[in-house]
């Protein structure tokens, strides 16, 4: 029996069209737009100004706190502007715009492709390097990785979990990383294990990627402590809390973090980025992005420099299909529709999914028929119909006592609702308001 999480979950059509497409290196763009806030936490402070010449890997914006990350230049060229530009959030945010000129890298970065297996750094040096290189969670949430690696006092981790689940339909970037960059990624896992001082690492992969499971099982045979597990194909298997429950049967307490149950979860893409940062001194300046969709002529996975406009990725995949209704940044379950195709690829862009018109439009909102399907599929055991109604009526205290803060925003409730009610929209509203209330109470 395959491992899985016990409560709720849905199984949307997988549509992993790009799973067979090897990672292609996308040609350098003419200009890049690099937002200075690409992560959860405080936005970084710009360290360059208009007219500056930058090299690949040079710091563009300095991290401005513990929960923040450095932003590096992904190209070499001239800074033409530091201005407010619409980013994937649809709002204008400060960004650095660079005109690309050649491809000159910083000398400190090792660009060779040789594998460096020997980990010479100590635990604290690794955390320091991860912080300097601006590594954030590559699964899409973009939480600064060095924060996860710095274990707070009084807590210990005994197992590291690697998230190779990729439960979002359509997306295949992690799958390709596990297949094509497996050895580098596994060294990254060993580095993470050393940083956290744990002896055991578990890699969880959904069972719809048998080739990746096979390859990693073979490669980890001689690596003590690293185990690969096949997991049932069930959304949201890749949710941190769900994955922990499925793999080691521990439950993260309400309001708690994985470290409270002695574990830390990292994405496989993050492990690769950590390998490159620690062994090659390469900051996070490119990532694998899946470009796919039902009518896309060439679904593909591209290795993209951060800051490349999304339109260039779409162009490389044969242009925007005529029947496109929405272009989604991320997966179709948790991603967000873009309102502008000139926005840049950022650290958290795992995929660009073009959804046809007939699938993308929301249907008319009907009355709740009390079928309780949302409650059945909620992986956190919440009552989405109730939370939505309470949010609609602005009864924030009741929203809070019904554990809205435990919602992981996976969207299973909205996906399954036969009345097409915007459950998650209102729950997010409730979550936002309640977190503001909690913050104001603390002050």
């Amino acid at each position: 029996m395959l491992k899985t999480f016990p409560k709720g979950g849905v199984h949307p059509p997988e549509n992993k069209m790009a799973s067979g497409a090897a990672i292609e290196v996308l040609p350098l763009p003419k200009t890049v737009t690099i937002p200075i806030a690409q992560h959860i936490g405080a936005p970084s402070t710009p360290a360059v100004k208009r007219g500056d010449l930058v090299k690949v890997g040079q710091i563009l914006a300095q991290s401005s706190g513990f929960v923040s990350a450095n932003i590096h230049s992904s190209v070499s060229g001239k800074v033409t502007k530091v201005d407010d530009v619409v980013d994937s959030s649809g709002y204008k945010r400060k960004s650095v715009i660079i005109d690309v000129d050649g491809d000159e890298w910083m000398e400190s970065i090792d660009r060779s492709t040789d594998l460096i297996r020997n980990i010479s750094m100590t635990s604290s040096q690794i955390v320091q390097r991860v912080m300097e290189c601006g590594i954030v969670g590559m699964g899409g949430a973009t939480f600064p990785s060095h924060v996860k690696l710095s274990i707070p006092k009084g807590k210990t981790a005994d197992v590291l979990i690697l998230n190779g689940v990729e439960c979002e339909p359509y997306l295949t970037s992690d799958h390709r990383v596990m297949l094509e960059r497996a050895e580098e990624m596994l060294i990254g896992v060993q580095i993470l294990m050393k940083a956290l001082e744990v002896k055991k690492a578990l890699i969880g992969i959904e069972n719809n990627k048998p080739d990746a499971i096979e390859k990693l099982t073979k490669l980890t045979a001689d690596k003590p402590g690293i185990e690969v597990y096949a997991l049932k194909v069930q959304y949201p298997q890749g949710g941190e809390k769900q994955l922990i429950k499925a793999l080691i049967n521990r439950e993260v307490p309400s309001g708690g973090l994985p470290i409270d149950v002695g574990t830390v979860v990292h994405n496989v893409g993050t492990a690769l980025a950590v390998y490159e940062a620690v062994q090659k001194n390469k900051p996070l300046l490119e990532r694998v992005v899946t470009v796919t969709g039902r009518s896309v002529s060439k679904p593909a996975n591209y290795l993209v420099r951060l800051g490349t406009p999304v339109s260039q990725l779409i162009e490389a995949s044969g242009g925007l299909p005529e029947d496109t209704g929405k272009v989604i940044n991320g997966g179709p379950m948790m991603g967000k529709a873009l309102n502008n195709l000139d926005v840049a690829v950022t650290k958290g862009t795992s995929g660009i999914v073009m959804i046809p018109q007939d699938l993308s439009q929301r249907r008319e909102i009907k009355n709740c028929i009390r079928c309780a399907r949302c409650t059945v599929v909620c992986p956190m055991g919440l009552e989405p119909y109730l939370l939505m109604t309470l949010s609609e009526k602005a009864m924030w205290e009741n929203v809070e006592t019904n554990d809205v803060m435990d919602c992981i925003e996976c969207g299973s409730c909205s996906y399954t609702c036969p009345s097409d009610r915007p459950l998650l929209d209102y729950i997010r509203l409730g979550k936002g308001t309640v977190s503001k209330l909690i913050r104001s109470r603390k002050q």
């Binding site: 407010d84 619409v86 959030s89 649809g90 709002y91 204008k92 967000k336 309102n339 502008n340 439009q361 929301r362 909102i365 915007p422 929209d425 209102y426 997010r428 509203l429 936002g432």
Partner: protein, 333 residues
């Protein structure tokens, strides 16, 4: 028969006994409530809108009774009359306040602010605003989903399907602040109602640079400072490329509105301007007559069919003001 009498007697005895107990318990645990709270509650409008900042009219009545003076307490719905009554009941003095009215600080109608994408998410401004910058090129403007209309307790707000903007009904608006608090983009402001309900304000909250605003919306305030130079009373300030008219300093001289290159300054309920021949005709005329914004006022003017008499009185009304303005000018000089 005997049983019946016995039942009646025993039940009556029980009733009397319990009533006595209840009487003494009620005496023992009696909560004293100031009878004046009820009296004040009587004279309040009973809208329970929360515009005074207290939970409902009862809460406000309690606060009035407790307070030493009514200086900071004001019921925007009842206005000065209501506060006068409250003062009479309590024997305190009420502070007179100018009535306030909500104005929408956005003039981006659907014709001057083209849509760049379609929003089909949950029909709530707050949700749309938390998701993205909106379905037009302006990330500060009205989202046209009408949450303000929903929260208005007085039926004073309506969506205009043509412009996509909410319209304030001046007759009904009480200045209760509900829309001001609800709007996720802070587009409503309470402004003094002014003499004859005349008001001038900047209908734009966009704080981007002028050129960037102009791309998203034709009628955005571009922060050109022309109105600032025109204003003799220093009532206009520009912060973040956005002008703001201080209602306390504004003398309603109407000099700022015509110089605005984007017609972002709105005038409400003023008599129509005299059309000056020749010299002015060459200048680009400001777009969209501001009277459009206040349909109630506009209706009055239109349906009233201004006779010559009215026109004269209007001129008269304007004349002394012009003089007053000139006097003010001299003073400031």
């Amino acid at each position: 028969m005997n049983t019946l009498v016995l039942t009646i007697i025993s039940l009556s005895a029980l009733g009397i006994l319990l009533a006595t107990i209840l009487y003494f318990v009620a005496q023992k645990f009696k909560v004293f409530e100031d009878p004046r709270i009820d009296e004040v509650d009587e004279v309040l409008p009973g809208a329970n809108c929360g515009g005074c900042g207290y939970p409902g009219c009862r809460g406000f009545a309690e606060a009035c009774v407790k307070a030493d003076d009514l200086g900071t307490l004001f019921c925007p719905v009842g206005g000065n009359d209501c506060m006068g009554d409250v003062a009479k009941v309590l024997g305190k003095e009420a502070v007179e306040k100018d009535p306030e009215i909500a104005v929408l600080q956005c003039s981006g109608t659907s014709s001057c602010r083209p849509r760049t994408n379609n929003y089909d998410g949950a029909p709530s401004c707050t949700i749309a605003s938390s998701l993205y910058g909106g379905d037009t090129g302006c990330q500060f403007g009205c989202l046209s989903l009408g949450e303000c209309v929903d929260v208005c307790n007085f039926d004073a707000l309506h969506m205009d399907p043509e412009t996509g903007l909410p319209v304030v009904d001046e007759e009904k608006c009480t200045g209760c602040n509900a829309c001001v608090e609800q709007c996720p983009r802070d587009l409503f402001e309470l402004r003094p109602k002014g003499k004859k309900s005349r008001r001038i304000y900047v209908a734009c909250k966009n704080s981007e640079k002028g050129a960037a605003k102009k791309i998203g919306c034709e009628v955005a305030c571009i922060g050109c400072q022309k109105c600032v130079k025109e204003c003799k009373f220093e009532a206009i300030t520009v912060t973040n490329f956005n002008a703001y008219i201080d209602a306390d300093k504004c003398k309603l001289c109407r000099k700022c509105a015509p110089v605005c290159p984007t017609a972002a300054i709105h005038e409400l309920n003023f008599p129509p301007r005299k059309v000056k021949p020749a010299t002015d005709a060459e200048k680009p005329a400001p777009k969209a007559p501001p009277a459009e914004k206040a349909p109630v006022a506009a209706e009055k003017v239109e349906t009233g069919k201004p006779t010559e008499k009215q026109a004269v009185t209007e001129k008269k009304a304007e004349a002394p003001k012009a003089e007053a303005v000139e006097k003010e000018e001299k003073k400031t000089e």
